[in-house]
């Protein structure tokens, strides 16, 4: 295969740039070989051609000074870079760049845990720090702090937070828990946000804002700078923790429990973001599809019901948790029990009866910030499973949940896919994750999944729903749905982009934000 080169760059220019990069980080940290090195920067779940997102090279700096020097080189040669840290970001494009030929800026080697403060409950980390790293550090030091991790915990704190990732403890809104960042701008300028801008400050990870405009959010899901440090709030280990699950018998119960949940969530009776998970998601943790159905197309209802009965699962399965001193948890659980007692057939489950069920066990771990990788078991639902996630946001109300579910389920079935999904209720909103699972060895299935995804984006937009995050392939399409007032939001993004990154070197096309030299050419 011919190596993809950055757009408009000759092989000679590329080689000259690589030579400069090797002077900065050393030859060992510039990766060029497509077979033995660059395969780490591909998306195994891509639904189009592998070559669509193939990088030309990767470079891994070890400190901020090297990042600054790398940016100087790529500015000089006008080579686009695609910044990644640790973690994988699978289902949303993985580590692969938006266009072929980009240079990957891999921050994995910047992996210092700079501070963990037990008294005030925060950590300051570099981009290469994974959830496992921070968890292990806290355990080794015996600190009474919890982390809040992504479901596959090989993710990194900065990567997940800047992608607007969500977790499962009361600290699950990761961007909300951010306090203070360090960013390197395209011209090499290092900027710190919030309180750390004042001399000798020790409050950057305590108070988010400082004086003047709060700009932290500008660097999330964007390409305006390279984040090299972040403060993250950590939850003090609570005196008690009670996870629970409610199995629900009927499809329509989704509407009922969503409406029942909102007041409990807003008033902090349920402390974390409760999840309503469909039968197939839960079943896939422990069985494969072929055990119950070997036919083509979506699994019929009769087979679903048998599987639910065998596995003691509901058509929907609701997870939540309360945290705190025993009397407080007891009171909260009474309110929760009373609330859900109105739902016919709702059945509560706790650790005493559910422990050992892989679905329960991994949720219990996630809701107390214990990193694990169990969610990958889902992909055994079909052989060779791959997936991309369709993730629309709605209000946390029952009708919206049902509207989204029915639309997506109908379309998924039309295209021959199972509906596998979950709803997660945040502070006011609801994240809906439809896991569009396909056989990643089958080009035909991947093409079908790709087509379905595009239709879902358009239909959701017509219904008033936008997505919170997406795969490389659909960033532009989804950006196009945030179009109010003649695309004024994206016009603003582009104005900022042009000002901060005039040569358009930083992650061009990230979330649909393109530099002026590439705009309209995607």
């Amino acid at each position: 295969m011919t190596k993809p080169l950055p757009q408009g760059i000759t092989l000679t220019q590329f080689k000259d740039a690589i030579a400069e990069l090797e002077k900065i980080v050393g030859k060992d940290y510039v990766f060029l070989d497509d077979v033995t090195e660059l395969r780490s920067y591909r998306d195994p779940y891509n639904t189009t051609k592998d070559a669509d997102f193939a990088p030309s090279a990767a470079v891994a700096p070890q400190n901020v000074e090297q990042v600054q020097k790398i940016l100087a080189v790529v500015n000089q040669f006008e080579i686009p870079i695609w910044t990644i840290s640790t973690g994988k970001n699978f289902a949303y494009g993985g580590p692969a760049p938006r266009k072929p030929g980009y240079l990957i800026l891999d921050l994995k080697l910047m992996n210092k845990i700079l501070e963990v403060n037990e008294k005030h409950g925060y950590a300051i980390v570099e981009p290469g720090v994974s959830y496992y790293d921070l968890y292990n550090y806290i355990q080794e030091k015996g600190l009474k702090l919890w982390i809040d991790c992504a479901a596959p915990a090989w993710g990194g704190l900065i990567g997940n937070t800047s992608e607007h990732g969500a977790g499962y403890t009361p600290y699950g809104d990761h961007l909300l828990m951010l306090s203070g960042m360090q960013i390197v701008l395209a011209d090499g300028t290092v900027v710190e946000t919030g309180m750390d801008t004042t001399p000798n400050s020790k409050t950057g990870a305590l108070y988010k804002y400082g004086q003047g405009a709060g700009i932290d959010g500008l660097f999330s899901q964007s390409n305006f700078g390279v984040i090299t440090r972040m403060g993250i709030w950590l939850m003090p280990e609570p005196p008690g923790y009670t996870p629970f699950m409610i199995t629900l018998e009927n499809e329509q119960d989704l509407e009922t429990v969503t409406d029942l949940t909102l007041p409990l969530r807003i008033n902090q009776v349920i402390h974390n973001a409760p999840m309503t998970v469909d039968l197939l998601w839960e079943s896939a943790m422990s069985v494969s599809r072929s055990k119950y159905y070997t036919g083509k197309g979506p699994m019929p209802d009769s087979h679903r019901k048998k599987m639910a009965k065998d596995l003691d699962l509901g058509i929907w399965n609701y997870y939540g948790a309360v945290y705190g001193p025993e009397p407080m948890m007891k009171n909260n659980m009474e309110v929760i029990r009373d609330t859900f007692s109105s739902v016919h057939g709702a059945k509560f489950h706790f650790d005493d009866t559910r422990a050992g069920d892989p679905g329960w066990d991994y949720r219990v771990k996630l809701m107390k910030g214990e990193p694990n990788m169990t969610e990958f078991s889902l992909l055994n639902w079909i052989g060779g499973g791959g997936h991309i996630n369709f993730s629309p946001i709605s209000a946390a109300d029952g009708k919206s949940a049902m509207n989204q579910y029915k639309m997506i389920e109908k379309r998924a079935h039309e295209f021959g896919f199972d509906y596998i999904g979950e709803f997660l209720i945040g502070w006011r909103d609801q994240h809906h994750i439809f896991m569009l699972m396909f056989n990643r060895m089958s080009d035909e299935e991947k093409a079908r999944a790709h087509k379905l995804f595009g239709i879902l984006v358009d239909e959701a937009a017509e219904m008033g729903y936008g997505e919170y995050r997406t795969h490389l392939s659909f960033m532009d399409q989804i950006a196009g749905t945030f179009s109010w007032n003649d695309n004024s939001l994206w016009e603003a993004h582009h104005a900022i982009k042009d000002e901060l990154d005039p040569k358009g070197i930083l992650s061009p096309g990230k979330m649909g934000i393109w530099p002026k030299n590439m705009r309209g050419k995607a």
Binding site: T36, K88, A153, D357, P358, N372, M373, T374, F376, L378
Partner: protein
Amino acid sequence: MLSRRTFIKSALATNVAVLATPSHALQLVLNNNSERPLLVFADSSALNSTNFISTVKDQSASIELDIGQHFELLNKFCKESPNGQITGLTRDSDFFVLEQVAKDFGFFPKYSAIHTYDGNVLTHEVTANKKSADVISSSLANAKEDWPTWLADNMLMLPRKASEMVTTKRQLTVSNAKQHNYLVSWSLSASEKI
């Protein structure tokens, strides 16, 4: 309640004593690969995988359902044994995750095979270099129900060279088809050390 476990076994190939009952074939392989550290993964929830792993003595077993619990062992092995080989007969998801981690250390699949049952038809779909793919798929088919044992006996002979990969498929009818698992056997190694 449902439960499953993942077996991990590691063995230094120089130490023939780590094998409980080494077959003659494997003994020969070990003698010919005297410096190759080996890490083997298997899944106890699948009978075929259990049969596979039973050929290797359990030397370093860390056991639970979550593949993430084995990252530390995997990372350590990759760092300390750049000439090593990581193999397994596991669920597809476990292979996928391990492959992604091992990639960062320069370990890539040189062999993988999907083993599926549809009724009493057993299919082996082998991906390896041109020279090896057909030989391996034939051998697996010839081993009939005992293919996991054949795999265990020959895991040190699985391809380790990076070259163009091809896929070959063999199907056979078996009399005892109680297994419905979709299993994947695989081998990861760093090709530049060959």
